[in-house]
Structures are given as C-alpha cells and as structure tokens.
Amino acid sequence: MKQNSGKRVLIVDDSEMVRNFHSYIIRMFGYQTETAENGAIALEKLLAEEYQLLITDINMPKMDGYELIRNVRENGISIPVIVVSTEEEYRSRFSGVEAGPSLHMVKPTDPEKLITTIKMLL
C-alpha cells in the first residue's frame, strides 16, 4: 500500500456521504484523497495542484461532471477520469465516443471494483 501514498485522487460529488464513501475506501489503500462538492470547485483544485486521478459524479449544481471533464480536457489536463453515475445519467450526458472520461462506473460503486479499476489506471 505504501507505493500508493504519493498518488492523489480528487473525488467530486455533491453528496458529502458519497464523497466520504469513496474517500474512505480509497484511503484504505494508501492513496491520498481530496474532495470537491461540484465541478467548479474541482476545476479550481485541478488547475492549482497535481492529481493523478479524478472521480466525478455527473449531476451536480454549478458545474456538472460533463462540463468538468470538458474543462479539464480543454485545459490540457490529461489525467484519467472515472465517472460514477447511473447508466441513465451517463447516457444522457456522454455519447459513445465523445472525448471525455476514461471510464464509467455504475452507482452505487462496488468497493472492490473501484479499487481494481484505480489500480489499473494508476
């Protein structure tokens, strides 16, 4: 787990409970986590500091997950992105091949799958 300690994951969701859910699990595996409650705050953090992975919800006030990813990419930040949402939400916002997230995971996230996925990406 030690080898993960330098890796920073940014978790974006408007529900504090969901943020804590992800944080708690991801920290167990030695990664550092930070959270943001909407896309706008997340973007600020991403522009200011370096992260190795972004995990984001779609439906959020201020700036949603779709806009966040678009902005992230426009700013030349090329970190992997995991979108966590229902299948429906994902489909309504992202089409098949649009430049966007690296991956999509279905809500509620399965902890084991989440960690396996993160390990594959990082």
Partner: protein, 744 residues
Amino acid sequence: MSGGFYLDDIDLTKMFIDEWTECLEGLEKEILKLEVHSDDSELLNDIFRRVHSIKGGSSFVGLSGITRLSHEIEFTLDAIRKKKVSVNMELIDSLLQAVDFLNGYISRIYNKLKEYDSSGGNGTIYIEFGEEEKEKSVLEGLRQALEKRENNDEEDGKTGETGGQEDAELGLLQTEEFKSKLAEELKEQFLLENTEHIDRIENQLLIQLESSGNDKDAVLEMFRSIHSIKGGIGFYLATISNQSPYYPTLKGFSEVVHTFESLLALVRDRGLTYGNKLIDLSYEVMDYLKTSMNAVASEECNDVPTAHILDKIERFLSNLQSVSGNDTESYAKTLRPEPGKIADMQQKSNIMQSIRVSQEKLDKMMNMISELLIAKNTFMHIASRLNLDYNLPEMSKEVKEVGAYINRISDDLQNAIMSIRMVEIKTIFQRMPRVVRDISQSTGKKMELIMEGEDTEIDKTIIEQISDPLVHLIRNAADHGIEAPEERLSKGKNETGRIVLRAYNKNKHVYIEIEDDGKGIDAESLKKKAIEKGFITKAEAESMSRGQLINLIFLPGFSTAKQITEVSGRGVGMDIVKSNIEKINGNITIESEVDKGTKMIIQLPLTLAVSRGLTVEASGETYIFPLEYIVETVKISRNNIHTFNDKYFTHLRGDVIGVEWLSRIFLTGRCDDEKEELNAVIISNGAEKYAIIVDKLKSEQEFVVKTLDGHLSSIPGISGSTLLGNGRVVLIVNPADIIQLAQK
C-alpha cells in the same frame, strides 16, 4: 446529445488504429481458446496485453468510447486471471460480443478517416455514431455475465483461493467488519442529507406545486431531490449487511423511493399536472421517509411497515400508466428544458459554498469570545485607576488606547462569530405551510398563509427555541382564529382566511408577528371565564384594562377554546409559549379585535450570547438591568409620587404607572426618603410599565450572562450574574419578575 466527437489528430489516430487492428486480429481466437484453457496464464497475459494496449492508446487520442469498452473487457479478464471467477460459455460469449463490437467500432472510425482523407479535409473531422443502444447492451451483457459468475462461484464455494497479498487486501472490502465500519462512518451524513432533501420537498417544492401544479421547474426539482435520495440510499445500503437490524427498514425505504421516483419520472415525462391527490400522496411518502429515518437514527430496530405506502404509490403509478400515453413523446420533448436552462436552474438552487461546523465548536468559540469581552473591560478599569488612584495620566492614556484597540478587534471578532451563528428564519418558517395545510384539511376551513421577511437572520440557538412556540401560535391562529367558510361569509369576510407570518429587524431586535383575520379574542368572555375558574375576583376583573384581560390567556391552565380540539391541543399551550419565549429573553404581546383578527407580536434578541444592560446601584449593591426591557430612565420628583392602598404611583407623560424601590423589592434596605429627586428606570414587560427607583444610574455596558446554579437559580427577580471589568460579580435583574414582585 448527439453521438459524435471531434478528432483533431488524424494521422496519429490512423497510426493507432493500425496497431489496434493488429491487436484485435487473433484476439477472437484466443478468447475462444480460453474457454478450455482458462488456466493458461500465458494465454491470459497475452489477451490482457492486447486489450490493455488498445485502452492506453484510445485514452491517449481521446477516443473514450473505445477506452470504456476496452476497460470493461480488461476488467473481466483481470477477474479471470486472478481466479476470482471461473470461465463459462456465457462469459466467453459476452467477451466475444464486446470484442466484436470494439472491432466494428474501430473499423467504422477507420472508414470515416479514409473517406475524409480522400475528400481532402482541413485537419479536424466530426464523426457521428448511431449505435448507442447496441453499445449499451454489449456493456450490460458483459457486466451481467461477470456478476452471474461471481454469484455462482460463491454458491459453489469455488472462490477463496486468493493469490497474493494484493488480493488479500481487496478481500478486506468484502468483510462484514469493513462494511460496518464504513456504515458507521456514513450514517450521520446519510441521515443529515436525507433530512435536508425531505425538508426541502415538504417545505418548499410541495408548497410550490400546490399553488401551481404545472410548475415544471418544481416537478424537475422534485424529481431531482428524490433521485438524490435514491442515490444516497443506494450507497448506504451497499454498506449494510443484510443481517443488520436496520436492513429491512432501509430496504423498504429504498423500494419506496425507487417506486416514487418512477412515478415522478412519469409525471415529468408526460408533463402531467401535479394534482391534489399526488400532493397528498407525496406528503404521505415524506411522512413515511421521516419515520424510517427516525427509526434508523434512534437505533430502534422495529421495522417501519412499507407495504401500505408502496401499494399506494404503485396503484397511483399504474393508474397513470393506464391513461393513454399516446402523446408521451411530444410531451416529454416540450418538458425537458434546454441544457442551458438546466444550468440556470442549478445555479439558482445552488447555495453558497459552505462548510459544516458542529454547533458545539461554535458555542465553545462564543464562550471564549464572551470571556474576552469581559477581559477587555478591565483595560478601561485599569486606565481610570491609573489616572485617579495612581495619578499617572500619561500611562492611563496609553492603556486606554491599547484598550480601545483591543476593544475594536474583539468587537469585529464578536460580530464575525455572531454572523456565523446567524441563520435565516426561513428554516422554521418553512414548516408552517404544512401545519396550516394539515389543519385546513382536517377542519375544512379555507385559509392561506402569507410569509414575509423569511430572510431575516437570527441566532441559531434562538431559532431552535422559537420553533415549537411558533408552531403552536400558527396552529392557534388556524384552528381557533380563522372561522369556518360559512361563518366568514356571513360576516362579510372573504371565504378564505388569511394568516400572515412576518419577521423583521427593528432596534437590535427581531420581531415575529403572527396575524390572522379571524374572529379575534373576546375580552368579555375571557373575563367571565377567568372569574368562573377563579383566576381573578370579580372586583379585580372590573378594574382590568382590555389589554390586561387579553393577557389572561397566558395564565397556566387557561384555555379559551370552547371545545378542546385535537389540533391545537388542550390549551396548556399559551403559558408554555410565553415562558419559552421569555427563557430566551423574548417577549410576546397580543393585539386583538373581535371579528377583525388577532396579532401576536414576539420580540426576540438578536443573540443570546451577549446582551447590553444598564448598571445601577441600590443600597450599595450593583445590579444590571437588561436593556431590552428598559423603556427610559427619568428623574421623578418626590411630590409626584402618590400612595393608594399601600402602593405607589406616579404620573408619567399622561399615564399613571406604578412605582417601587428596588431595595424594597430585594429587601436590602428601606427606601431613602431624603432626596427630592429620585432616579427611576422605567421597565416594561410588553403590557405594562413600571418605574423602579434606584440610588444611582451608572453606565451602559455589554455583559455575558452566567446562569446561577443550585438553590440560587430560583431567586425571584434575578436571572443570573455577570462579571464587570473590575472583576466584580453583579446580579442581573429579571424585569418581568420585578414587575410581578412590585405588584404584590
């Protein structure tokens, strides 16, 4: 959303596609081999490598559709490689389907690129696909096949041979211990977020929808809130073991929310009106959700019955569905706002960025600030001593300057902390529409509630204290004040009763008014009743003013309702309302006119932590009078004090008011008879004024109330103590008590 994307780096993409085509060739065959040779680690590694390289490349050029697909394939392969699942035909089939789809996908991009090349384009290309449905089913197929294998293996007991430390760590995530820790971690937040959503639905959205069932924005918000609740319960439920005592309750909760969401989706998509029946149902659902939340919060394990409410929602849903849905499509289209509009709405519903701080921390901070306030007063005290006692005017000036500086900082600090503790009164006002609505439903009266000044701010602690009294007063107004429709018509009033709930700031106080246009309070019948019940004698009654008579309703055990109704309780309320308000240094007064209506006016301090008061001296003792009770201070000449029945009176600006000596009330000395002019503090409890004579009027200053403990706590006339700048302890006078004591 169009299924398309832009591709800038065409040459690079073409290079990658060549590589991928190579990778994909043979992948199909290898996967087929896997069915029989699932233990062949070299074969697995090779397949894995191929898929992984596609994933890496596609992510690099931004073809995220490919990344997504290849990741799902990789994920499944990883599970097989780590022997987490055993291979079967279904799993292989779904893998093959995914690879096929990926192949087709890539070749379509390739064809597009070729087409583009021959047309001599300018460097960017826009590609559109129409295969989303297919992609969805491929992905679903893959996920489901994997899940099924996982479950099967679990039953057969095939898993368990975990290889390597890494897997052991992952295994932790499945243990009950991990889950219950996570659940504990999330519980508070889970409850809080649900309560917020439910509050908002109940106190804002449903009210909006009740006044206009076609408010599409409100319907959308409604759906969104329920959707959020659903998301939350999904996460929370995933952490709860199905052996847990809460599991059935939460499971039921989840089902109800899920079904209700489907119902709302239908309403939203068909553009249906949010009618009264649906509103009633929504309230019932909210009640159910609240009950469930309470059961979880209070750690009671008895299940909350779900069948009844679930059945109701389902019946409603199927009724709606059976209504012809021909126009569903076109309705749906007109209903969905433009993306831009969604963003607007989200902007609107977004509250300013904030962090949550526990009340305890704030209280602690406030306490420390209070200490600081007392400490800072010391500077002024020392400064004056330096000047007068030690004759060091220069030094005194310096100390004074430092004192003033610290004074300024602590003032700013105090204001800042104070503003943190301030919350909009909206939080309690929001509950009232439901209260009025419930009464209107159960009594058949028609009434409307108008709320004004909801953004008035007041200390959080006060908000908490005022909530119950306010509910009681609103109930009273709705239940006892407003008449039945026929009665109102016969009086020439509008059929619909009007209750106004109003909050505003005035003179460092917050005022809340509850005004109804109902039947008002009949002072004569109050008088009769008070005499009957033995609260007052007939003679007393005759000498009482109308205002005094109306105030009788605050006496313990006094009820004016001819019949005790279920809604507004048994008439034990008003005295408790009054005492609750007084506990937080507030004050309540009534204005009422028969058949015109009643107005209750509550005066509240902005904050409880720090008050201002006037220090006075009587028989050598110093006391503080809280400023909010002081009307004015005057000098009264002895000739102007008259005696009647052993009581003292004086004339003040045309009024006759009672006079009493503070030293006589506290039995600390006799009134001094020598002075020609007497210092008096005129205090008021809202209804009456009284002049309290003291020896000396000193200064106005801030003080922090320290309550007295034990047997000292119930001394009549004293509400607490405080420290002065010189470290002296002084008693705080309770003016409301003082007036009562003086009248005896």
